[in-house]
Amino acid sequence: MIDKSKLKDYANKLMFDMEDSEYETLQEEFDVILKQMELIGKIPNISSVEPMTFPYKNEDVDLREDEVRDYLTVGEVLDNTKYQVNDQVKVPKVVE
């Protein structure tokens, strides 16, 4: 079973925390899904299959012509935050 402290570390790297009991549930879940995935690994010749990212080969793809078409006003950019100074989004000082 995966260590709870490891799970906490993973969660923290995703910028959140969970309750202790929640990590326990997660441990069980991991157990189940990893066992299922292990079965997948046993499918014959699985490693020789090319991983699939796109549902099907799309022959109809166009790259975008390089034209300015659509963008937001400053007002729209800042519409969803009240933390703003000089038309920019204000955050605590970022230490480089």
Binding site: L14, T25, M37, E50, P51, F54, P55, N80
Partner: protein
């Protein structure tokens, strides 16, 4: 007068000027409010009637509902999550733009499982959605409110999204039609991403034709979504094509009764086989095929693996910095951490951790890439079968909607093939539709038809024919016994 009417019926009322579209909106709104407390379909019910007048579309003046994970400029869009509880978008999803342009009238934004990551309709920040046929049962999800609003007769159609079965499963549980077209047929621009390679936009309605009408309006290439395709075939016009000699298959490993003991499931399967006979009477050729069980059993873990991995990344923008509730703290990291800790529910967090674990360098090969490989094997198998067959037909679930106390979101270690095969449609981007075909324990159950990529016309054509023999076309829950 209004409740439970189809697009075609409402069109007629409007054209004969027996009702105005504004009256339709008021009626829909009245129903929405009437059922809101008991069934909780909506996050937002629109105050004002708004219509684009210059349109000659079939849906001009017709009320509809939109899942609350589609971006609507100026209208609250929460994705049923606390992390977006006050978010008012500044742009429109392509689908919303198209529906508005066609004259569709938005009645409200519907409740979903938080961030569309769930299949129960129980995880929204505004509470549980209840099944119109029985309040103690789930609707399924994640397009829970969209399914419920149609099943309650509030709107003739609604828009949902489907990543694993999020339209087709709640459609089955709520006794409505749920259609997920070919991947890329409908633009996803403005759909809050769950798992981009599996995300589809689709329609819920009370009959196949209505789904076809709506899809004809919203389909097509979009410059804002690179995966979209041109699709010139008219779906409505194909609905009544002759289907004699069309070949359907069902999967032995899923439908073989001998492996089940549950009474509900056995009843559903009996009715399924009866339906297959009716299909044969219609002129279909229906055959049983066998697929390697290991492959079928891999569908669910493969779905979990890919969807959780993509979801972790897709939702990394939810930090409360440029939108959403700002967290507390003295550094950017602290405020992100606080916003995300408070903003996501436990289930979401668990899926994110799982997804990120799957993508870790040391696990990627064994977990993520292996899942992507199985995905290909499954899709290849389907495409091989689609060389001989025009479609796959299977029960959408092994029974009616579960009640709230007998199900949980925890991953089950049992392999419930019957409950989880719909994700195959997402793996390959296949057009897939669920229509109600029976009742079990007084709850509706749907049958699913899935076909070749871009054969949406044929899939809807076949579904339309099958719908004519189920006896459950245009059904809705008449609960409350009110009409307006």
């Amino acid at each position: 007068m209004y409740r439970g009417k189809s697009i075609t019926e409402l069109r007629e009322l409007l054209d004969k000027e027996e009702l105005t579209s504004e009256e339709l909106f008021d009626k829909a709104k009245k129903l929405a409010y009437a059922f809101q407390e008991d069934y909780n379909s909506f996050v937002t019910i629109m105050d004002d009637y708004k219509i684009k007048r210059r349109s000659d579309s079939l849906i001009k003046g017709i009320p509809y509902a939109l899942k609350d994970n589609f971006s609507t400029n100026g209208i609250l869009t929460t994705s049923s999550s606390n992390i977006l509880k006050d978010y008012v978008p500044v742009y429109d999803a392509t689908i919303y733009k198209k529906l508005r342009k066609a004259g569709g009238v938005l009645v409200g934004k519907t409740v979903l499982d938080e961030l569309a990551m769930g299949g129960t309709g129980t995880t929204a920040h505004t509470g549980v959605v209840k099944n119109p046929w029985n309040k103690t049962c789930m609707t399924g999800g994640s397009s829970a409110g969209s399914a419920a609003a149609v099943a309650l007769g509030i709107v003739p159609f609604s828009i949902g999204s489907d990543t694993g079965d999020s339209i087709r499963k709640p459609a089955s549980f709520c006794g409505v039609v749920g259609y997920k077209p070919t991947y890329g047929l409908i633009s996803r621009y403005g759909l809050f991403a769950f798992a981009s390679s599996l995300d589809h936009v689709g329609v819920l309605s009370r009959n196949v034709k209505d789904s076809a009408i709506v899809t004809d309006i919203i389909k097509g290439k979009d410059i804002n979504d690179m995966v979209t395709i041109n699709y010139d075939k008219n779906l409505v016009e194909s609905l009544d094509n002759d289907i004699k000699g069309k070949k359907l298959f069902y999967i032995k490993e899923i439908c073989d009764k001998s492996q089940y003991t549950d009474k509900d499931t056995l009843k559903v399967l009996d009715d399924f086989y009866k339906l297959l006979d009716k299909c044969r009477e219609l002129g279909f050729i229906v055959e049983e095929v066998s697929i390697d069980k290991a492959l079928l059993e891999a569908v669910y873990p493969t779905y979990m693996t890919i969807s959780c991995a993509e979801a972790t990344s897709n939702n990394s923008n939810l930090t409360g910095i440029q939108f959403g509730p700002r967290g507390e703290g003295n550094s950017v990291e602290e405020i992100m951490f606080d916003a995300r800790t408070k903003g996501f529910s436990e289930l979401i967090k668990r899926r994110f951790v799982l997804g990120s674990y799957i993508l870790q360098k040391e696990n990627q090969e064994k977990l993520f890439l292996n899942a992507c490989r199985v995905r290909r094997l499954i899709v290849d198998k389907m495409n091989e079968l689609f060389k001989d067959y025009d479609g796959m037909i299977l029960p959408a679930s092994g029974g009616g909607a579960p009640s709230f106390d007998d199900s949980s979101e925890k991953l089950s270690s049992k392999y419930l093939l019957l409950e989880n095969h719909l994700a195959i449609g997402n793996f390959g981007g296949f057009p897939s539709i669920t229509i109600p075909f029976t009742f079990s324990n007084d709850m509706p159950v749907g049958v699913n038809i899935t076909g070749r990529v871009k054969d949406d016309d044929l899939v809807l054509n076949m579904a339309n024919k099958i719908e004519s023999v189920t006896g459950y076309k245009d059904i809705y829950s008449k609960v409350g016994d009110i009409d307006v």
